[in-house]
């Protein structure tokens, strides 16, 4: 396909870039009301009046001086890929901070369109924005948008096309710094003439004065003398202002941003606290905030357990009422393998996985996740992390793969490694299926909750140990707090579907094929050999029935498969007849902790490298076997 135009969406975190992207491309980028959702570049193509337009969604970024890993991705894309047009998505309710970034884009001289998003929210807050004047001041087209409703998104593309049409447009310098700085920028520009590192001269000069490590390295490679000159000039500026040169420049940019906002925006201070603020004082309260958080978590667990249990029970009754008596190899394979596999997958999918994704969507879209980061910051310090780590960990309840990738919001390599490790220990929806579907349904909800408690304690202990082993300390949390908003039903459903689809496409066929294979192996007695090879661990140490050995192996592919195939492997739907309550608990405990599934292992390798991934996988197997054996012996005393 011929791409006529490449348009990049850039801007601060949580301003609606991904929403605009989804509106334009019809794709399903994860959206939600918290900063740091998008950690990777996403691309999609839009057909707009006969033109193929590539849309690129970037992680949020506050400045072109970067801080965390996902922001470096954005900056490099804007700076090095030379997109045809950059669409700077701007939050109309927080103009000053957003324009700080816009000004930097203008300094880079990228062809620019401003998408003034959330204009509806700004209006509600009593902010009146003079869009035309803003356009004049910035020298770039301004398009008011409401991304969630798709208002204005296509006008952005119209403007983007116009922008590229007027090639070589002359940019005026929106920012004139103080004369003491301008003089030194000019001086540096003169030194830089003839040195091309792919950026505009003025921008390179400013970045050198700011001491931006990447630009300093690039220029310093061939022209160390220029870097020395820049350092001297920067030193002079900090001498005059009594603060580091980069701070002086940031201050000046903010001063310009503040001046623009003052000129174009009039706002009435709302008389009373907004709904979101009133909710904040409850959900971030020193006592009630925590109470609310625990209540929410516990209710989700209870609801899932009860609803999932009820649904699989209903489905099973329905299913057993039509149970035909079959004989012969092929009908047996088809029925006990295929159909039973299908039924079992369906009941875990509809009973546990889909409802959880819906709940997660509501949590994400409402803006509650950052509040948890705030509440849990102090507790996170005891395991050497800060509150932001809670977000990937919470995402881990859905699936460990996005959780591992989401750890990129952690600023240091050390914090990232600890968070990645811990997020693989979070019981994902597949493991929830096993815990709630087996222990919750057959032994009792209290035992299922006990397993969660054990898991959280394990996460805490492992965190403590990693904090000891890995050198360094966490940098601490710096995070934007978005206001609450009413979750949009459409977004939540769409999001849940986007997350559920891969499950249907990969897990469902895989599990059905798996159950057919298992049924075949059971008939041919292969299952017996595989299971007995593992029996020293499964039977002797863990006290489980021999057939579970095979389930552990299959569980590496999909953890929920371990439960689904349990029925097929045991040859009966009545699990109570083949496993005692203690065995069910031990089985679920081992499934919960032992080696992450293949998809997670792949994510681990990508995020932390082979060495760490192997280390994490093996230490988790060891832990699972150790704890499983201990649990078996302890529980056998009581039950």
């Amino acid at each position: 396909m011929n791409i006529d135009l490449a348009v990049v969406l850039a801007g601060n975190a949580n301003v609606g870039k991904s929403s605009i992207f989804n509106q334009l491309t019809g794709l399903g980028q994860i959206v939600g009301n918290w900063p740091g959702k998008t950690v990777e570049i996403a691309e999609g193509v839009l057909l707009h009046h006969g033109k193929h337009i590539k849309i690129i969604d970037l992680p949020g970024i506050y400045s072109l001086s970067t801080y965390s890993q996902e922001e470096i991705v954005s900056r490099e894309y804007i700076a090095l890929e030379h997109p045809d047009v950059v669409v700077n998505v701007v939050d109309a309710t927080a103009l000053e901070r957003n324009l700080f970034f816009t000004l930097q884009l203008l300094e880079m001289r990228t062809p620019l369109v401003i998408a003034l998003n959330l204009v509806d929210v700004a209006k509600k807050k009593g902010m009146i924005i003079d869009e035309e004047r803003l356009q004049e001041l910035l020298g770039a087209p301004v398009v008011p948008t409401i991304a969630t409703k798709g208002v204005g998104v296509h006008e952005i593309i119209d403007e983007a096309i116009k922008q590229t049409a007027k090639q070589s447009s002359v940019y005026k310098n929106v920012i004139r710094y103080g004369s003491e700085i301008e003089q030194r920028i000019e001086k540096l520009e003169r030194v830089l003439v003839g040195i091309d590192i792919g950026y505009p001269l003025r921008w390179t000069a400013i970045k050198l004065l700011e001491g931006d490590s990447e630009i300093v390295n690039k220029v310093g490679e061939k022209h160390p003398d220029v870097v020395v000159t820049a350092n001297i000039l920067a030193g002079e500026i900090s001498e005059i202002h009594k603060e580091p040169c980069s701070n002086v420049i940031a201050s000046e940019r903010y001063a310009v941003a503040a001046r623009i906002v003052k000129e174009i925006q009039t706002s009435k201070e709302p008389a009373k606290a907004s709904m979101s603020e009133r909710l904040d004082s409850l959900s971030m309260h020193s006592v009630w905030g925590y109470a609310l958080m625990f209540t929410i978590m516990l209710s989700i667990l209870m609801f899932m357990s009860l609803f999932g249990g009820w649904l699989s029970e209903t489905l099973r009754n329905l299913f057993e009422s039509v149970n035909p008596h079959i004989t012969g190899l092929w009908p047996d394979l088809a029925w006990n393998g295929g159909v039973v596999g299908f039924y079992a997958t369906l009941s875990v999918a509809l009973g546990f996985i889909l409802p959880f994704y819906l709940i997660l969507g509501v949590l994400e879209d409402s803006g509650y996740l950052p509040k948890i980061a705030y509440l849990m910051d102090r507790p996170c310090h005891t395991i050497g992390l800060h509150g932001k780590a809670c977000i990937p960990l919470l995402l881990g309840f859905g699936c460990n793969v996005p959780a591992c990738v989401g750890c990129r919001i952690m600023e240091t390599k050390r914090d990232r490694l600890i968070t990645v490790f811990l997020s693989t220990l979070v019981p994902c929806s597949a493991r929830t299926v096993v815990i709630l579907g087996l222990v919750g349904a057959y032994v009792g909800v209290q035992w299922a909750i006990a397993l969660y408690v054990v898991d959280f304690m394990l996460i805490f202990v492992i965190g403590k140990i990693l904090n000891r082993i890995l050198p360094g300390v966490s940098v601490g949390i710096i995070m934007e707090m978005p206001p609450y908003r009413l979750p949009s039903g459409k977004v939540v459903v769409k999001q849940a579907w986007n997350r559920f689809k891969p499950f249907l496409l990969t897990a469902l066929p895989l599990i059905i094929i798996g159950s057919i294979i298992v049924e075949a192996m059971r008939i041919t007695n292969v299952l017996f050999f595989v299971s007995s090879a593992l029996s020293p661990v499964t039977v002797v140490w863990l006290g489980l029935p021999a057939f579970t050995g095979f389930l552990f192996i299959f569980g590496v592919i999909r953890k929920e498969a371990a439960l689904v195939l349990l029925a097929t492997t045991a040859g009966t739907l009545n699990i109570r007849s083949v496993m005692s309550p203690v065995q069910m608990i031990v089985f679920a405990l081992v499934i919960m902790i032992y080696v992450p599934c293949v998809a997670t292992i792949a994510a681990l390798i990508r995020e932390t490298g082979w060495k760490n991934a192997t280390l994490i996988a093996f230490s988790e197997i060891g832990l699972a076997v150790l704890l499983g054996g201990i649990a078996f012996r302890l529980l056998s005393v009581f039950m």
């Binding site: 400045s63 580091p244 980069s246 701070n247 903010y254 509150g387 601490g476 949390i477 710096i478």
Partner: protein, 233 residues
């Protein structure tokens, strides 16, 4: 001959000299691990500077000027020992050697500041008395009172945002910390002289929520401790 070198000799003479104030050349040489011949040479130079009385075969003794220098060195050494022990919590066995190295580079001004910070200690961690200073004050209290007055004045003006209560406001005076964190805070709008207000803080020294340039930010306690503001009413 370096200043440090001479100071070492003066201290050695002070430590070794008997009741009559005289130390033998051989003892000094042994103490400083130097050859007696070179030690004699140093004594000659110190004599020229008026720091010691020296006659070969009779031994060496400090002059009034030399004695004053010796006291000053002892004072610096013992103050540093207190500092290394009380403030930096260095192991006891290490503080003497470390103080020996640091004492020669400690300026008189720093010495006074150190004494004030340590609230005018009387003894070193090993129990030896710390010689008094030669400042124009009648007693330590006077000096310390002056110090606290200064501190209070400063604290009233500039405070860390963690000492503000919810609802209180301040204008940023300065931020301490690593380059990365300061840059990040600047990028988020916490530049000098920016007005910020405290919204709430989490219990048990948890993070605090602030409002800056119309945006709400949550900042960890360790970072917030290092953000200083001119408190406003």
């Amino acid at each position: 001959m370096s200043k440090e070198h001479i100071e070492e000799y003066i201290e050695a003479i002070y430590d070794i000299a008997g009741r009559d104030g005289v130390a033998k050349t051989t003892e000094i040489a042994e103490h400083l691990h130097n050859a007696p011949a070179s030690v004699t040479e140093v004594f000659q130079r110190m004599k020229q500077k008026g720091l010691v009385r020296y006659e070969s075969h009779k031994g060496v003794s400090l002059t009034a000027k030399g004695f004053k220098t010796a006291m000053r060195m002892k004072r610096k050494h013992r103050l540093l020992e207190v500092f290394l022990d009380k403030m930096l919590h260095l192991p006891h066995e290490k503080i003497h050697d470390q103080a020996c190295k640091m004492e020669h580079t400690l300026s008189d001004e720093t010495e006074t500041a150190l004494c004030k910070t340590l609230k005018g200690p009387a003894e070193c961690p090993h129990g030896s008395p710390i010689p008094p200073c030669d400042l124009d004050v009648t007693n330590c209290q006077e000096c310390l009172a002056e110090q606290t007055l200064e501190l209070e004045k400063r604290e009233k003006d500039i405070v860390s945002i963690t000492s503000l209560k919810p609802g209180e406001k301040g204008k940023i005076a300065f931020i301490q910390g690593g380059k990365g964190v300061i840059q990040r805070l600047c990028d988020l709008g916490l530049t000098n002289r920016t007005s910020i207000s405290i919204i709430r803080s989490a219990p048990m020294n948890g993070p605090i929520e602030i409002c800056v340039r119309g945006c709400k930010l949550v900042i960890g306690r360790d970072i917030a401790n290092k953000i200083f503001v001119h408190a406003e009413g």
